[in-house]
Point group: C2
């Protein structure tokens, strides 16, 4: 560690399970089936279309294409996005909309606005690592509330809050195709969660990067829809998973009273989101590419999810349980107590397959026997091969 | 204000002098000579070259051009930047270099790493508004130390710290072509500042967006050079003023022990800086465009600064004093006590000229009779016209 006078919050910055796993993964030189990362596959990024639109939007015609953008977002993108979202569960209005540098900055803004040091923040258990890390960066105290196949267990959350003896300032939820579990919150639970938040005076951060990637089942109303005008839902969205992660363009939809504060806070974070790629996304939306792209991707992700389910049933049907998501990128596998998934990770790498150990998704490391698989980034045959390698690695660890 | 349970730090988010000024400016529909903002002029952004390089770097050839970037920065940009900086006062090494989303994120990272609530942070007076705002976002207590024509007055700083009865955790300095004063710290003062910081155990944030835009005088060693291996200098740099602000690409150079912490902190801010524009900047550097572009811009900015000096002498020689910078974008004008520059701003807008009132650059509003002029964004004839309008507005306010 450094000798420099770090802030006390810097504790959260020391290496996590996910860091050590991905750095081990990066060192491998042999063939690895990668179920680890949550990026769209290279073939799922519409590179050719983006390049085509880029030439139009950044070409010599647009004299201001490289200037500062308005902090609330470039008007071209704001208009195209509002039109794209109209009629969906994420429909919003100009006074609620602020463009961000990806979903991650939406989370950073939300925690910055609401969390004082020592405030209680509910996170799902398991949860998205960088989401809980951002809460910790504002020195939140975390309360981990369990997730089951219907998402955040709201009954248990209520008991945990009673036991904590104080109410949470923020509830950080990923209600749809949750990262890492793949579970989605039922409508009933969403309604109940809103009642609790209202009673407690809590803000709900609704982080939903994957909601447009539904390939089965029926859409569930968003928390903002269920809230029906109540200001307590802060929705964080991104183009990272539905167009391309390298753009770093996302948005938040939040109560209009927050917009001037969001603009001030964002000015002191990164001034504005890069303008050329806001224009690029605007062009992509305006030309109708998103709907086409999502239609293609949903079919592809469904096939990949099915392939992984089939392979898991074949290879691990007798020794594991796993979720069966209706969209998104991930499923969650529970192995027996005989398998430590951090140890398994090393053996699996040697066998040629990578995942993320369950403990990466819990600040208090509650999932030593679980793991997350990303089904989105590999074609079916490769998924079959990867699960076969995983089963072989599990056998080896069990016989150690 | 909102009814939602905001964090106590949210106080810093309420509108500043700069916000109200720029929003008033945005409402004007008549011809205005804009000396207000610190963006490069449209004709100072190499849009045509950038568009040309964009086609190469984002074209169909680069399959991963829209993927997540490494959090420390894309290797193509890192290599091109290290080569570009070699031999300059900002030369650095891979273990010190982290790519950021503009200089602003470099500041956010620095304050996040070092400032606990209540810590003392020295800011220059006047200072860059979003710099001090970021310190406030981590609940720093600010100590304003005066700037004169040789930059931060280090003697007075020492006295102020003695009087405060405690040492600063961070000293936030803009040592070269300071925003807003245009002043540069002499070598002697840089050496003395480092001695003080070492004695106090303070980190110096060296924010220098304009250093490559020197059009007169000789380069002064950077604080990092003067520090000669001591880890206490955290250098924040950006391409915003030297290539284009809308890219949101910058970098920090800091002690190698900080790099893993910077990577973790940045992951929970925006995951990574957008990849396509990192590649674009890498291409721009690799093809040698930066040196050519800077050579052109230095001449242009010198001519504009000279035009503004001439016009000020002609129009305001008897009633104002101002700085004469050797580079950068800004100069600072001190009017007599008979002129309140926030009031002047309104009258000046009606006359068709805009600036930023001095109080925008001081959290405790110490500069009611001063103002900042940007000379960089207008051709000489237009600068002459703008200063003439300013003189007219001053006369009107004086006779009110």
């Amino acid at each position: 560690m450094t000798d420099l006078p770090l802030a006390s919050r810097a504790d959260y910055l020391v290496g996590s399970v996910i860091d050590s796993s991905t750095s081990l993964l990066a060192q491998q030189t042999h063939d690895i089936v990668k179920f680890a990362m949550g990026s769209p596959a290279a073939d799922a990024v519409p590179t050719h279309t983006l390049a085509h639109v880029a030439v139009q939007t950044m070409g010599a015609g647009a004299a201001d294409a490289f200037d500062y953008a308005a902090t609330e977002g470039d008007s071209a993108l704001r208009e195209a996005l509002l039109a794209e979202l109209a009629g969906t569960t994420d429909a919003t209005t100009p006074d609620r909309l602020t463009i961000t540098s990806g979903g991650m900055q939406g989370l950073d803004l939300a925690f910055k606005l609401f969390v004082d040091p020592g405030d209680l923040v509910v996170v799902e258990s398991p949860t998205y690592t960088n989401g809980s890390a951002t809460a910790l960066s504002y020195q939140a105290e975390l309360l981990e509330a369990p997730v089951d196949e219907n998402g955040l267990d709201v009954e248990q959350l209520e008991e945990l809050v009673v036991r904590a003896g104080r109410t949470p300032k923020v509830i950080y939820a990923i209600p749809t195709f949750q990262n890492p579990s793949g579970a989605s919150m039922s409508l009933e639970r969403r309604e109940r969660l809103l009642e609790l938040a209202q009673r407690w005076g809590s803000v709900i951060i609704d982080d939903d990067p994957y909601g447009m990637l539904r390939f089965a089942g029926e859409p569930v109303p968003s928390l903002q829809e269920v809230a029906n005008g109540e200001p307590l839902v802060f929705s964080v969205r991104t183009f990272s998973k539905i167009i391309a992660p390298g753009l770093r363009v996302g948005w938040v939809s939040a109560d209009p009273s927050l917009q001037p504060l969001l603009i001030s806070a964002k000015q002191a974070m990164d001034t504005c989101t890069n303008l050329p790629l806001q224009r690029l996304v605007a062009g992509f939306l305006r030309e109708g590419h998103l709907a086409d792209h999502l239609a293609t991707q949903r079919v592809s992700y469904r096939d990949r999810k099915d392939a992984m389910q089939t392979a898991l049933t074949e290879q691990l049907g007798d020794k594991a349980r796993w979720t069966d998501p209706e969209g998104g990128f991930f499923l969650w596998v529970k192995l027996g107590e005989s398998v430590d998934t951090e140890r398994l990770f090393e053996v699996a790498l040697a066998e040629g397959v990578a995942f993320i150990p369950g403990n990466a998704f819990s600040p208090s490391r509650r999932f030593p026997h679980d793991l997350r698989l990303c089904f989105a980034s590999m074609p079916p045959a490769r998924i079959h091969e990867g699960v076969t390698r995983l089963a072989r690695a599990i056998e080896k660890v069990e016989s150690e």
